[in-house]
């Protein structure tokens, strides 16, 4: 089952989930998930609605605490109580709704909550010049045409994604969690976003990508993990599986692989 992890023993394990479960009252959203994420790897997380994808992401990002099970970060047991904890340990999140402020510029959105400041006499003021130029560098690195001084209000879906992704690049994270980044944007913008994910990978950043779109997963991911009703039913290298097989696994036509 874990053929991929064996062939990658040289690569270090960034995140190791052991027997993670989460219940909400009587509902078991996750049942004993075991999963490893390697440094710099792009992993697709697939499953039908209610399979437990979002719950898993929220545990990794510190929004939820697991009911049972352990999480190891680079070999050490770790617990995230708040989103800030995940961030300080190198895990950044791109939320499904992107969490952008329409009336702020791209650069101010990138730095939101982490504004760069400088001293003006006794006062701490915003270092706007630095923020514009740093945001510009990140957009250039992502090969996005987004301009730091533009208001997010005026941007296309793809550019908004670029702003949300650029936000994760302020702190050189190890892992970026992305929740449905290609839902609800046009075809041309989808390829723009997939390009951004590839750029992250080339910078050595790991990505855990939730998506409903099979072609996206097969374009950018190294590995695909399939959840069904809170259980992991498959964990395969992308070259060892097919879109038909994954579809079968998601719907339950195939029991497991």
């Amino acid at each position: 089952m874990n053929s991929y992890s064996q062939e990658n023993q040289s690569k270090s394990v960034f995140l190791d989930l052991r027997n993670i479960s989460k219940s909400f009252g009587a509902i078991e959203a996750l049942k004993g998930i075991n999963m490893q994420l390697f440094a710099g790897e792009v992993v697709g997380l697939m499953g039908d609605n209610g399979a437990g994808k979002s719950t898993l992401i929220k545990i990794l990002s510190g929004n939820y605490q697991p009911t049972s099970g352990e999480m190891y970060l680079e070999g050490h047991p770790q617990q995230f109580n708040r989103p800030v904890d995940a961030r300080t340990h190198g895990i950044e999140v791109v939320y499904q709704d992107l969490a952008l402020c329409d009336h702020l510029t791209a650069a101010h959105n990138v730095f939101l909550g982490r504004e760069k400041k400088k001293w003006l006499g006794p006062l701490r003021i915003l270092d706007n010049k630095f923020m514009f130029s740093k945001a510009g560098e990140i957009f250039a690195m992502l090969k996005s045409e987004t301009r730091p001084r533009d208001l997010v209000k005026q941007m296309s879906g793809g550019q908004r994604q670029a702003v949300a992704i650029a936000r994760t690049q302020l702190s050189s994270p190890e892992l970026v969690l992305m929740d449905e980044p290609t839902a609800a944007i046009s075809v041309r913008q989808v390829s723009e976003v997939l390009g951004l994910i590839k750029r992250l990978q080339s910078q050595g950043v790991g990505v855990l990508l939730i998506s409903h779109r099979m072609p996206d997963i097969f374009t950018v991911c190294d590995r695909v993990v399939v959840l069904r009703r809170g259980e992991k039913v498959a964990d395969k290298h992308i070259s060892e599986t097919s879109q038909d097989e994954v579809t079968g696994l998601i719907t339950g036509a195939l029991e497991s692989a």
Partner: protein, 337 residues
């Protein structure tokens, strides 16, 4: 990408200065105010043909009247940017004025009087801010309740009496509110200082960015680690504090205070902020907008008076202007998107 083209992209703005001006509500309000001045200087003559609008006397009047409203419009703008509202400012002003008047007439010095007024205002802001930010109640309901509470407390504390004797420091106190500095009324000086202060805070501090962020998308601000509750709380504190400042200035200028001080001022303050471009949906507003908005509202009032229009019509004209300003804003943002 080479370094030079990167710098170019960083400096690039989608819209020219003119396009930005075209989009900005305060710009159009400034144009309207200038236009109105021109019309009034032409029409504002009395029966003997003598100028009544363009006189130093009338300009002083306008400046005074609009500064008392404008001071609070500055605070209101900070609240409106967070997508909030403060309906209690008029009553807070009344209660602060009474607190100051009572303290002074009981024989305390001017420092104690001013402190009493400002602390009363801050206490009201603290309650508003706490209930809205930390308990999560609706700003409209909380401040509506505070409007009623403060007006009633003003009645209780004052026992429906007027205060006009301001104790040992009476002359000093009256000169603070009613005096002038190089010919500019003190209250106008205070309003200009507050405008510059808020303008600076909005554009150059994280606090200002966070106000806009909360008004645009409160959820996003929370998730990105903005101290949303503390920032919202501070906006209500600031707004109440400006109401307290305005109360002290107006009491000094009038030389007396009753519990009716600031009655329905909240509507003129909100009207001024909104005409100046503050968006009740949040995320938009500026310090200059608050200043020019309150100036225009006062100009309309004054102009109608000078033109000999029955003062009963004032509310109609101000009301029409509010609706017109908001409609204009909608039309422009529609066209540019």
């Amino acid at each position: 990408m080479t370094d030079s083209s990167l710098t170019k992209a960083i400096d690039l703005q989608t819209h020219s200065v003119w396009q930005q001006l075209y989009r900005s509500q305060p710009f159009w309000v400034t144009i309207a105010a200038i236009g109105l001045c021109v019309v009034l200087s032409w029409a504002g003559t009395d029966s003997r043909g003598e100028q009544v609008f363009f006189t130093a006397q009338n300009f002083n009047n306008v400046a005074l009247n609009f500064s008392f409203i404008g001071i609070i419009a500055i605070g209101m703008t900070a609240v409106i940017i967070t997508a909030g509202i403060d309906l209690s400012v008029g009553s807070v002003m009344g209660l602060s004025g009474i607190a100051t008047g009572l303290t002074l007439s009981s024989g305390y010095g001017v420092e104690a009087g001013i402190a009493a007024g400002l602390l009363t205002a801050l206490a009201c802001g603290l309650v508003n801010g706490f209930l809205i930010s930390y308990v999560g109640l609706s700003p409209f309901v909380v401040t509506l309740g505070m409007l009623s509470i403060c007006r009633s407390l003003a009645l209780v504390v004052s026992n429906n009496k007027m205060f006009y004797e301001f104790g040992p420091d009476e002359d000093l106190f009256v000169s603070i509110g009613g005096g002038s500095y190089f010919g500019i009324a003190n209250s106008l000086v205070l309003m200009l200082i507050l405008t510059i202060f808020l303008g600076f805070m909005l554009n150059y501090t994280a606090w200002g960015r966070h106000l806009y962020a909360i008004g645009s998308n409160e959820n996003a601000a929370t998730m990105t680690g903005v101290p949303v509750k503390a920032v919202k709380m501070s906006a209500y504190l600031f707004c109440s504090l400006t109401a307290g400042m305005s109360a002290i200035m107006i009491v000094g200028w009038m030389g007396s205070v009753t519990n009716a001080l600031g009655m329905i001022y909240e509507l003129r303050v909100i009207a001024s902020a909104v005409i100046g471009g503050a968006d009740l949906m949040g995320g938009v507003g500026s310090a200059y907008g608050a200043l020019i908005g309150s100036f225009l509202v006062e100009l309309i009032r004054n102009g109608l008076l000078m033109a000999g229009v029955d003062p009963y019509w004032q509310g109609t004209f101000v009301g029409l202007f509010i609706i017109f300003a908001v409609a204009l804003e909608r039309i422009r943002s529609h066209r540019s998107s």
